[in-house]
Assembly symmetry: C2
Homo-oligomer: 351 residues x 2
C-alpha cells in the first residue's frame, strides 16, 4: 500500500507535524509519499529519502515539486500537462490549526481523497476545548468544571485559585498557564489571548493522575496500552515536543484491570461514530476514582505509535475501515419541474 | 464592491443554492461574480448575465471557464498562464452539504479568501442538529427533548407519539417525517437513514408556533423583522424550495414587543462569537411563552433577504466586520534548536 503523509500547515504546531512525519518512516512498513504544506499553504512533494527536519527550516523543500489540489488528488505539473500523485490513502498528520481544526479534513473530503484522520465535525469538536466538554457531557463523560472568557470581555471574574488557563482552540500546551493567585491572572490571560479569542479556565488540580489511551475502531476496537505520562506541573510545549519524536514503547500505567477497562469504556462513548476513520488519543484524568476526559487528540503526536504493540498493523487495518460519505447524485428535479410549469403556462395563456 | 457568489456544491440542496444565487441579482447592488460548484465539485465562472436555472440543469455551464482554487483565490487558465478571478469578498451561498457543513468555509479559510458565511466551527455546530442542541443548552437556550439513533442500532425504542424524525445533518426538510404511531416508525427511519447515518427524534408538537429571526453583527446587531412562516404540518421540501425564491417583504409576526425583544436576546446568546461573519436565520418555537431554538441556518435560503427592510445595506455592512484569523508566523524555533544541539554534540563529542 502507498500511504500519502500530509503534514505541515499554517499552525503553531507546524514543527511538531514535521517531527511526527519523520517518525512515520521508522514505524510504518507501507510505501510513504510525503506531501508537505508550508506556512504559505503551498503543497510540495518531498522525496521520502530527503525527509529530515532541516529540509524544511532551511526552505530547501521549495526546490521540490509544487502540487495543486483538485478533484481526486494532488497534481504535479509535467511537460505534457499534469500528473496525479499516486497513493492509495492519505494520512492527515498535521497537528493544530489546518490539520486538526477541520481544514485538511475538508480539503480531503471535498476533493474526494480517502484518508485516515478526523472528519470535519470530529475536528471541530476535539479542537475546541469548550465543544469537547459539551460533547463529553452529552455522552455521559465527566469533565472538569470550567468558565470561558472572550477577548475584550471584563476580566473581573470570581475564581478559586489555582486555575489553569488555556486558549480554547490550541493543542500541545501552547499558551497555557497555571495561575496561583489573582495578581497573575492578567498576564496569563494576555498570553492565552495571543493565540485565541477565547480562553477556557479550569481548576488546577495539583498531582492529578493523567492517563493516555489511544485507539481506533476497525471491525473491532484496537486499543493501545494505558500510559501515565511523566510531567512536572504539566507538560509544556518543549517537553511535549520532545515527546512527539518518540518511537520507543513505554511502560504501562500502574492501574487495576478494572480501571483500565473503565477507561476503554469511556473511550468508546466518545469515539463512535464521530471519530470513525481516525486513530485518536484520549487524555484522561482520574480524581477520586472517577474518570474525566481532559482532551481528545484526533491526530496525536507521532500518532501515539509508542503506545501500541504493533502500530503498523493497527494503522494499516484502519485504512480498510474508513467512513463513507452519503451518496449525492446529480439531479435537477425542481428546476426541471419549474421549467415544465413555465412551458405549460406559455402554452395555455398566450395565443 | 465586487462580491463573489459561491454556490452549488455536491449536496441535496444544490438546486436551492442555484435559486438563492439567482435571487441575489435582484436584491444586491454590488457587482456580482458568480462561481458555480457542480455536482463533480468542479468550479466554473458563470457570466452574471447568463445566470438562470436552466443553464445548470442542462449542463450548459460547462462551456464557461473552469477554475482552480489556490492560495488567494480562484484562478482561470489563459494563454499566458492563469489569472485570478477578481472580487473583494466571497459570499458562501451554498446550502446543505459542502456549503453549510464546513467544507466551503474550510476551502475559503485555507486559501485565504475573505468571505461572508459561517466559519468551520459554526458550520459543524449548526449543520448537526445534535450539536446545535448541545451548543444551545451550553449557552442557556432551550431546545425540545430528543433522542438520537445510529444506523444499524436497535430500533426497539420507547417513544411517546407523535414524534418527528430528522436526519441529524441535513437542512431544508429533506428526509424528515412525522410519525404518529409505532407502525409508521420503521419506514420513517428508513427514509431518514437514506440521508444520514444518524437520526434525531423529537416530540412532534402540533400547532407549535414557529418564528424566524435573521440577523448578523456588524458594529452592532442588525436584525430582520420576526416572521411567522406559513406551514401545514411542517414546511416540506417543495414548499421550502419555492420559499427560497422569495424577494417580497413578508408581514411581521403578531407578537408582543416584549416577546420580540426576548427572541433577539436569545439570538444574541447563540450568535456570538461563533457565527461572526455570517448572516444567520434562527428558527424558534414558542411553547407556553417559552422560547426554544429549533434550528440555526447559517446560510438561510436566499439569505432571508425578504425579512430585512434594507438587505443590501445589511449585507454590505457585514463585509466590513469579518472575523480575522490568529496570525501564525513561520518559525522553526524547535527544529533549529535541535540542529544547534546536534551541532554542539558533534563538536564536543567527536574528535
Amino acid at each position: 500500500m502507498k500511504l500519502g503523509i500530509i503534514f505541515g500547515g499554517k499552525s503553531f504546531e507546524h514543527e511538531i507535524s514535521i517531527i511526527s512525519a519523520i517518525v512515520m518512516k521508522k514505524v510504518l512498513k507501507a510505501e510513504l509519499i510525503y506531501i508537505f504544506c508550508d506556512y504559505n499553504r503551498e503543497f510540495y512533494l518531498i522525496p521520502t529519502k530527503k525527509i529530515n527536519s532541516k529540509r524544511f527550516s532551511s526552505g530547501e523543500y521549495k526546490k521540490y515539486k509544487k502540487l495543486t489540489l483538485k478533484n481526486g488528488g494532488f497534481f504535479a505539473k509535467n511537460i505534457i500537462g499534469e500528473k496525479k500523485i499516486d497513493f492509495d490513502i492519505a494520512l492527515n498528520l498535521s497537528h493544530g490549526a489546518d490539520g486538526e481544526d477541520g481544514k485538511f479534513s475538508s480539503l480531503l473530503e471535498f476533493f474526494e481523497i480517502p484518508f485516515v484522520g478526523p472528519r470535519v465535525e470530529a475536528s471541530s469538536i476535539s479542537y475546541n476545548k469548550l465543544f469537547t466538554k459539551m460533547y463529553a457531557k452529552e455522552f455521559g463523560v465527566k469533565t472538569l468544571d470550567y468558565k470561558t472568557l472572550n477577548k475584550g470581555s471584563s476580566r473581573n471574574i470570581e475564581l478559586e485559585y489555582p486555575v489553569i488557563i488555556k486558549p480554547t482552540r490550541l493543542g500541545s500546551s501552547i499558551g497555557i498557564s497555571i495561575v496561583k493567585k489573582k495578581e497573575e491572572l492578567d498576564y496569563a490571560l494576555d498570553v492565552a489571548f495571543e493565540f485565541d479569542t477565547q480562553v477556557i479556565i479550569e481548576p488546577f488540580v495539583r498531582d492529578v493522575k493523567e492517563y493516555n489511551l489511544s485507539g481506533c475502531k476497525t471491525d473491532k476496537y484496537e486499543f493501545s496500552i494505558v500510559e501515565e505520562p511523566k510531567k512536572d506541573e504539566f507538560l509544556d510545549f518543549d517537553k511535549k515536543y520532545l515527546d512527539f519524536s518518540r518511537t520507543l514503547r513505554v511502560n504501562e500505567a500502574d492501574l487495576s484491570e478494572e480501571m483500565k477497562e473503565k477507561l476503554k469504556e469511556t473511550f468508546k462513548k466518545l469515539y463512535e461514530p464521530l471519530f470513525s476513520g481516525s486513530l485518536i488519543r484520549c487524555d484522561f484524568f482520574i480524581l477520586d476514582n472517577e474518570i474525566y476526559i481532559n482532551e481528545i487528540n484526533p491526530i496525536p503526536g507521532s500518532m501515539a505509535n509508542y503506545l501500541f504493540s504493533d502500530f503498523d498493523k493497527v494503522l494499516s487495518s484502519l485504512t480498510n475501515f474508513l467512513p463513507t460519505c452519503t451518496q449525492v447524485l446529480p439531479q435537477y428535479k425542481y428546476i426541471n419541474s419549474i421549467q415544465v410549469a413555465k412551458g405549460k403556462n406559455g402554452k395555455f395563456h398566450t395565443k
